[in-house]
Symmetry: C2
Subunit: 255 residues, 2 copies
């Protein structure tokens, strides 16, 4: 069967996944493009509905080879479902992984975000966290949705590469500290020196405008990057990425 109407019930349901409320309600999110869809199904992310553009026999074959079924749609319908203006022939709704924080966190570096607002920044920071070998991303209250189309595009596939947790940030940081993690945060009042860290640390990144909130920063060792020129600050995802990079380097040296 080929769906050619944007009023089809499946199409309407998938289109709604652009909204955070619908993603929360259904426990699903949408992924777009060949690379992300195949990355996801190969990362044990469970697909719910796979949508392929009519005429893309190559994609139909690859999906069938994996033992999965798909729904064929017209170009116009694919464009209505997807967030990207020129979608690449395939998209899928997938089950959002469980984001409940674990009883005991993995050893290594955890990147925690405090009310990060911009989906592009969130995706870029997740990508850096992945590249630098972080073992988890912890999202506190008030963060933008990591499963939004824009955040996923900026993450460039890193969304499924490391565990993502959502929880009460202060509570989780207290638990992490008890489990032996050193808590560090980037802060304008911090020292211009990256702290030494052992095999377990958390780096907390704050909101783009207001930084890390006081009830979080009081738990952490504060540090800030040196600034030599006239710019008053760095781009939020750049500053976060340099901190993650620096801590990752220190952890490797320590090993």
């Amino acid at each position: 069967m080929l769906i050619t109407s944007t009023k089809n019930e499946t199409v309407k349901r998938l289109r709604r996944l652009k909204e955070r409320a619908a993603r929360r309600e259904t426990g699903l999110h949408l992924i777009e493009g060949e690379r992300l869809v195949f990355d996801a199904v190969n990362s044990e992310i469970r697909p719910e509905t796979i949508i392929i553009e009519d005429g893309r026999d190559d994609l139909k074959e690859r999906i069938a080879e994996l033992g999965l079924s798909y729904t064929l749609v017209s170009r116009q319908v694919l464009e209505a479902i997807c967030d990207t203006p020129s979608p690449q022939g395939i998209c899928a709704s997938v089950y959002t992984p469980d984001t409940t924080p674990p009883d005991s966190y993995l050893s290594g570096m955890i990147v925690a975000l405090d009310a990060l607002q911009d989906p592009g920044n969130l995706g870029t920071i997740l990508r850096t966290a992945d590249a630098m070998g972080a073992v988890g991303l912890l999202l506190g209250e008030g963060c933008t949705d990591v499963y939004s189309p824009k955040a996923m595009r900026a993450a460039m596939g890193s969304t499924y590469h490391l565990p993502i947790y959502r929880g009460e940030l202060r509570k989780e940081l207290l638990r992490l500290r008890e489990q032996g993690y050193k808590l560090v945060c980037g802060h304008l009042k911090g020292e211009e020196r990256i702290p030494e860290v052992g095999p377990c640390c958390v780096i907390v990144i704050g909101n783009e405008g207001n930084g890390v909130s006081d009830d979080i920063s009081e738990l952490c060792e504060l540090c800030r990057l040196p600034m030599y020129g006239r710019a008053e600050s760095l781009n939020a995802s750049v500053a976060a990425s340099i901190l993650i990079y620096e801590l990752a380097k220190r952890m490797r040296v320590g090993v």
Copy 2:
């Protein structure tokens, strides 16, 4: 006089500055918002036409205090001229500074870009270069325009903080090498080690998709950032920013 028509000749002329060709032809570019306009006139950037929204007496007063004249426009006209959807009451066309490369470059770190495509990346890298105390930005052939509205927004005011040069990249790098600058570039074939540098160095950042071209990279010492996780690469402006930060640190240590 108050301009209320978007068909007014001045308005038409300023609106065209969104296009690169018009910026090149006129030697002007447009800056938007209170902060950028006052930053610019205080950085000895010469304004051509200053536009203020009718009713913003605070802005009229501040501009008049500087001994400058302005043109009043309606809200609708201001929105037509500006690139931002909700402009902040003021914009100005200003004379683009001379970007001819100098006979002799200033001592310090120069950030050079080889065919960088994305205005957001260019602005972000310029902001990092400024924060890290670079003494110049050198734009090679094929770079996106540093004076476009999007690049200027991402630069967050750094556009006028350091000299910007446009030229033939290979020719300029050969001159810089002769003048004693160490040439470094980020490259996938490079060593996973940031080189030591003296008081004068150039860091070359390549195109988002293809990296640094061969006729440029053959002049440089190649290096790349360590990657520990599953991400295949970093965001282009993040990778560039980490390299700039690392070299800036080494230069300070050397002093």
